[in-house]
Structures are given as C-alpha cells and as structure tokens.
C-alpha cells in the first residue's frame, strides 16, 4: 500500500520532468555544450598531439637542451608526410605557427620537399638539408609546446604574459601588450556606460512610475519603441547624427557656433561608443528601476517630508534605499551586456573606441585562433561572475528585480 502511494507521488513528478525535458535538452544542446566546448579550447588543444603522436612520444624524453634524438627527426618526417596526405597539415602548422611565427613555412616546405629529397643517412641531416631551422632547438620547443594537450599559453597571451627563457612567467614588453589595455578599456567603458545610463535612466524611471496612468503608458512606450527597433538601425541612426557631415555638426556650423573646418569628431572614437552604447542599453536600466519604483507607495516621500526631512534628505534616506534592488539589477544587467558588446562599438567605435569583443571576434573569424578567443571570453566570463558574486553578497540576489 505504501509503495503504491509513493508510486502515485512519483508519477506526477516524472510527468513534470517530461514537460521540461525538451527545454532542458534544447538549452543543453544549444547553450551549455557549445559554450563548454569553446571555453574548453582555451586550455585544451589536442590537434597537434593527434597528428604527431610518435613525435610527441619521441620528444617526451628530451630535456629541451640542444637537439632531440634521431627518433624524433624520424617520427616527424613520417608524420609530416602522412599529414600532407591526409590534408591535416594546414591546421597543425597553423597551431604551431601561433606558438612561434615562421613555423608554418618550415613545416609546409619540409612536408612538400620530403618526397623529392634523397635520404641523407640520418633523418636529422635530411630535414636540416630541407630547412636550416630544424637544427634550432627553438623549433623543437615550439612543436613540443604546441603538442601539449593542456596549455596555459592562451591565457598567458590573453593576459599579455609570457614564459621567459628561464621558464618563469612575466609581463610582455610594453609595446607588445595588446589585450590587457583593451580589457581595462572595456571595463572602464562598461562602468562609464552603466553610470551614465543610471544617471539618465533614474529620472526617466521615476517620471514613468509617478505619472498618471495615461502619461505613464506613453512614456513607457517611448522607452520601449527603441528597445524593439533593430540594434543596427539604432546604431546607424547615431552615425547619421554624429558624423562630421552629420545632423549635429551641420546644425552647430549653420548656427555659427562652430567654424566649418572645426567640425567635432563625435563618432568612430570613444565618444561614439559611449553615446551609442548608453542609448542602446538604457532600457535595461529603466525597466528594472521602473518596476521597483512602481511598488514604492507614493506616500513615502510626503511622509518623510512631514516628519521634518528636507525633500533631498527624504529622497536620500527613504526613496533611494528602497530603489537599491532596481539600481543593482539595472546596473548589473547593463554592465554585463556592455562588457561583451560587439556590434555597436564595432560600427561606431573606430580604432580608439574598440573593445575586447572585437578582438574575440577577430580571433574567431579571421585569425582562427579559437584558443585565444576562448581564453579572452573565459576571462570576461570570470570577471562578470566575480561581479555578480560581489553583488549578491552586498545586495542579495533575492532582492534583485529584473522587471
């Protein structure tokens, strides 16, 4: 009897599980798996070791000083020929080339010439005959490094660090640091955009929450219509407004405020990125704020004032603290979106308004260095997670109101 009853309780639960199963499968397949795979690439690189298994084995006993044993030369000669035949050579040579530039040429030339070259007694002499670099220890070190299944190389590169000759980790020279300045810039721009949308969004949300219903609906619509408009359209609209021959410059010049030859450069730089991103992300600030403000009774401000607080003090002590969940949710939302924003800065940012996302896009689409792209993305993800944890510790996730 008891078992029967328990069975009755389990059945509906299984039914409920079956209902969410399609969603679960969809989320897993379309979100969790690709994300995990891509992030995995930042540290896991099996390509070279898969194509050059014997070489890697032969290099395992090598101490890194001088040249490796003859077995390694023999192994790589065989595997290069095989890779050429199996058409896996470009991928592998590309991967090794990322460790040390010039390696693509060495590998490709060697592989192509091997067939036509006479065997010179040892594989070492044969290969060196094809390309002088085979007698450089650095060549072998590069192959060994690229052949490691797990690597910290991409993370080091993403953080502008490098492994020195003696094996210690240190900063790259100033002029070759690419990613850390870009990350700092991304962080600062995201913070700036968050602050700016808070400053602009707070009064708007207050006005919407405290207007009579008819006007409040209209104002809300004004916030939402841009939100529903295509991102590209909105960004391009800013180009029309801000460019040198654009509406704002034209107006300033025709009013005589600016001379014609001193038109303001407001786009394809940091200004453009700031203006367009703030505008695009503003609804994400306004909506959570509005939702929180709507739930604050309108009698709170008069009550505080009647108790003797000046309007400013009443706002600071009574109204503002009650909107903190909205400020937190809006800021977090805008910041997270801003830190990974791509289209807008790419369109209006120019060189100086470029953010880390464009480097990620470059490595995914153009240089095909997915490992580095994944490392950069992981660092962003970690930054956002840390921020979220701080937020939940300070304000509390349960108090967050996303609208």
């Amino acid at each position: 009897m008891k078992r029967f009853l328990t069975g009755l309780q389990v059945a509906p639960r299984l039914g409920a599980l079956a209902l969410v199963l399609p969603l679960l499968a969809f989320v897993t397949l379309s979100f969790v798996v690709p994300l995990a795979t891509l992030l995995g690439k930042s540290a896991y690189q099996p390509e070279v070791s898969q194509v050059f298994p014997d070489t890697m084995e032969a290099l395992a006993g090598w101490d890194g000083e001088g040249l490796p044993p003859e077995a390694a030369f023999a192994a790589i000669a065989g595997e290069l020929a095989q890779a050429l035949e199996e058409r896996s050579l470009p991928r592998v040579s590309g991967a090794i080339n990322r460790v040390q530039s010039g390696m693509r040429g060495v590998l490709n030339r060697t592989a192509r010439r091997l067939e036509r070259t006479e065997f010179a007694g040892t594989w070492r002499d044969t290969l060196t005959g094809i390309h002088r670099d085979w007698q450089e220890p650095a060549t072998w070190q590069a192959i060994r490094q690229a052949g490691a299944r797990f690597t910290s190389r991409h993370y080091l590169q993403a953080l502008d660090l490098e492994r020195k000759e003696d094996g210690s980790i240190g900063l790259r020279p100033d002029e070759s640091r690419v990613y850390t300045p870009l990350m700092w810039r991304t962080l600062l721009v995201s913070l700036g955009v968050t602050l700016l949308s808070l400053l602009i969004g707070y009064p708007i949300a207050y006005m919407i929450a405290n207007s009579p219903p008819k006007r409040s609906r209209l104002l809300l619509l004004l916030v939402l219509v841009p939100f529903w408009t295509s991102l590209l359209v909105r960004t391009t609209a800013w180009i029309v407004l801000l460019q040198r021959q654009g509406v704002i410059n034209g107006l300033l010049v025709s009013l005589g405020i600016l001379p014609d030859d001193a038109r303001l450069q407001m786009i394809y730089n940091m200004t453009g990125t700031f203006v367009a991103m703030t505008h695009v992300l503003l609804p994400f600030m306004v909506l959570p704020l509005y939702s929180v403000m709507r739930s604050i009774p309108s009698s709170h401000m008069p009550a505080a004032i009647s108790l003797g607080a000046s309007p400013l003090k009443a706002f600071r002590r009574v109204y503002l603290p009650q909107t903190m969940p909205g400020i937190g949710a809006g800021s977090l939302l805008v910041f997270i979106l801003a830190i990974g924003y791509y289209i807008t800065p790419a369109l209006v940012g120019g060189r100086t308004g470029e953010l880390i996302s464009s480097q990620i896009a470059y490595h995914v689409q153009t240089s095909l260095n997915w490992g580095l792209a994944a490392a950069l993305s992981s660092i962003l993800l970690i930054a956002v997670t840390v921020l979220y944890l701080i937020y939940s510790r300070v304000i509390g996730v349960e108090r967050m109101r996303l609208g």
Partner: protein, 364 residues
C-alpha cells in the same frame, strides 16, 4: 480680538487641480487647541485635499491657511512640524520600527540617547514596547497602524493630521484603535484633524464633525447636535438613518410647522427658513417612530402597512408603507411585548412634532 487665535484656521480656501472642477470651495474652518475635529464625507468630497493643504503638500488655489494666527503659505511642509498619519501607514520598509520612529528625531538633530528615550516613550504610548527591532512587514496591520501613529507623535507636534488611518483594518480592530487614538489624543492634549468616510468612527471619536459634500462643509457641529439637529437632508441621511418624506408646508407657528404629506397632515420642527407653501422634506429618525399599541397621544399619527420585518438582535427593523413611501423604516427595541406584528398588517404609527424636522429640499 481679545481671545486667543484658533490653532488652525482655513479662511476662504478654494482648491482645484489644473482647470478641473473645484475640489474644495469656500472653506472656512477653525480648529481649537486640543480639539479632535473630523472631516466626514463620501469619497471624493475634498476631505483629504483639505488635509494635504494644511500639511503643505498642496497649495490652496485661493484663500489662506493659518496656524496659531500666522499664515503658512510660505512654510514648506518639512518646516510645519505637523504629524501626519497616512492612509496606508507609509512606514519605511527598509528601516526597523525603531529607526522609523527615530527618523523624525534624527532629522531634527537629536542625539542617540534622546532618540532612544523618546522612541521608547512613543512605543509605550501605543503599547508596542519591545518591538523596536522588528521590521514593518513583520507586524500585523493593527501594529503597523500603531507604529504610524507613534511616528507622527514622537517629535511632539501640537497638531496631528490623520487621513483615514483605520480604513484598511477589520471592524473589531478599528473600534479598538478608535478608542486608543482618542485616549492618546486626550493624554497628550494634541489637536487632531481626522479624515474618514465612516460616520460611526466620526461620531465615536470627535469633539466636532464637519460633514463634507462636493468640496463644501454642509454642517459642522458636535456628534450629538449633528445627529439630533441636522440642518440639511444630506446630513440627515448621512449621519445615522433618517426617513425623508416629501411634502408642502401649510402653516408656520412658533417653531412648528404643519406639513401636508400625501393627504396627511404632519407637524414638524420648523428649522429651515421656509415660508408657508414651500416644498419641504420631513426627516424622522427610525427609532423615534412608535408602532401601535401607542402608549400615548402623538402629534403625528398615521396609518401604515407592514412590508417587512427583520430581527436584528437588540432591535427589530420594520419596513413600512407610509404616505406612498415604501422604504419607511421604524426601529423597535427588543423588549417584551414588541411582538404581534406580521408583514401585511395594518398598523398605526406615531411620533412627536419635535422628533421630526422640516428641511429645505435639495438634490443629493
């Protein structure tokens, strides 16, 4: 003038929002020190607007409001030092009860020791000692209301405004708090301007009641006078119950007039300035109507038919058909010998001439 100025005066105050209709018209009102005055009226009659003008949240469109003889037109609300209890309590949810009460003291610059002492005293006053550390959402509705009252009193204002403070509570709690508010007001001697649409509440608590209708005061008097001597049909039917009979005045003599009501001649107190021949409404309280067997001779005796009887415990409520009016109500106390009436019976009813009042008819 030799006498002291009233605590609060409204002088010819008008108010409207934008170009809409007048919310408050021609308001003249005086509150004396230590008085409990209630503004009573249906919703939308302008009571709350009156309160908000005194608190300083709405400027009058015309006219002047004075406190202790001085105009407060230029005084911002935070400088008026008036305690206000809002309809929905307006307790600050992010602060504890103690912090809510300490807030007005803090903005006045009192040090922590003084704050704690005054908060303790205020909580004692509303019988909530020991709840300082709770948050408002951990309190019951009645407790929240007590905190709101304590907060409006903690900075020792001389004048306290209350806007339907008991509206959200159930009946038992409401009655209990009515008594509490009255006790506190007497104990502290503060002047209270109270707004409600509940006439029982107004009657139970107030020294005087101002009956509001469409932005005007219809009548202002003590609860007894308001009940016994309503000046207008609106007041007569809004305060307690009244039967109103339409008729025409035939003659007037020494404060009593004769009125023809549907073929019957009645005698009524002549209180409005109505000459013979004018239309009138005769108002009779249901409890003043006697039903046969009549124990004495009455100036007004009529035939009636019993339509309906409801038993309400302490009294019987009898609906009668009198002079063409089928909604005529009589209340008979539940005492031995009340019985013997059944629906459909023809009975004789009667009441004294001074128990009914001939009022000036008006639309309402």
């Amino acid at each position: 003038m030799s006498e002291v100025a009233p605590h609060v005066e409204y002088r010819g105050v008008y108010k409207r929002f934008g170009d809409s209709a007048w919310v408050v018209r021609e308001l003249d009102l005086e509150l004396h020190k230590g008085e409990f005055l209630t503004l009573l009226g249906p919703s939308g009659s302008g009571k709350t607007t009156c309160l908000m003008m005194l608190a300083g949240f709405e400027p009058p469109t015309a006219g002047d409001i004075r406190i202790n003889g001085e105009s407060v037109a230029r005084l911002p609300p935070d400088k008026r030092g008036i305690g206000v209890v809002f309809q929905n309590y307006a307790l600050f949810p992010h602060m504890s009860v103690g912090a809510n009460l300490a807030f007005p003291l803090e903005v006045r610059g009192l040090d922590a020791g003084q704050r704690q002492e005054r908060v303790g005293r205020a909580l004692e006053l509303v019988r909530l000692t020991g709840l300082e550390d709770r948050h408002p959402n951990q309190l019951s509705g009645g407790q929240q209301q007590r905190v709101a009252i304590a907060r409006a009193l903690v900075f020792e204002p001389e004048l306290v405004l209350m806007d339907e403070p008991l509206g959200a509570l159930d009946r038992r709690l409401r009655e209990q708090l009515q008594y509490e508010i009255r006790r506190i007001q007497r104990q502290l001697g503060v002047t209270v301007l109270y707004v409600t649409h509940d006439q029982t509440e107004a009657m139970a608590m107030s020294d005087r009641v101002a009956v509001f209708r469409a932005g005007r005061i219809e009548q202002i008097a003590s609860p007894e006078v308001l009940y016994e001597e309503p000046q207008r049909p609106f007041v007569a039917s809004f305060i307690g119950e009244n039967n109103l009979l339409k008729g025409r005045i035939v003659s007037v003599e020494r404060g009593v007039c004769e009125v023809d009501v549907a073929e019957q001649r009645l005698q009524a107190a002549h209180i409005a300035d109505l000459p013979a021949g004018s239309e009138t409404l005769v108002a009779i309280r249901p409890e003043r109507v006697n039903i046969a067997p009549l124990s004495m001779q009455y100036s007004n005796e009529l035939d009636a038919r019993v339509e309906d009887i409801s038993f309400l415990g302490d009294h019987l409520r009898v609906r009668l058909h009198v002079c063409g009016n089928t909604e005529f109500i009589a209340k008979i106390p539940n005492i031995v010998g009340h019985g013997g009436i059944l629906p459909g019976d023809r009975v004789r009813i009667g009441w004294g001439a001074l128990d009914c009042r001939a009022l000036e008819p008006e639309e309402y």
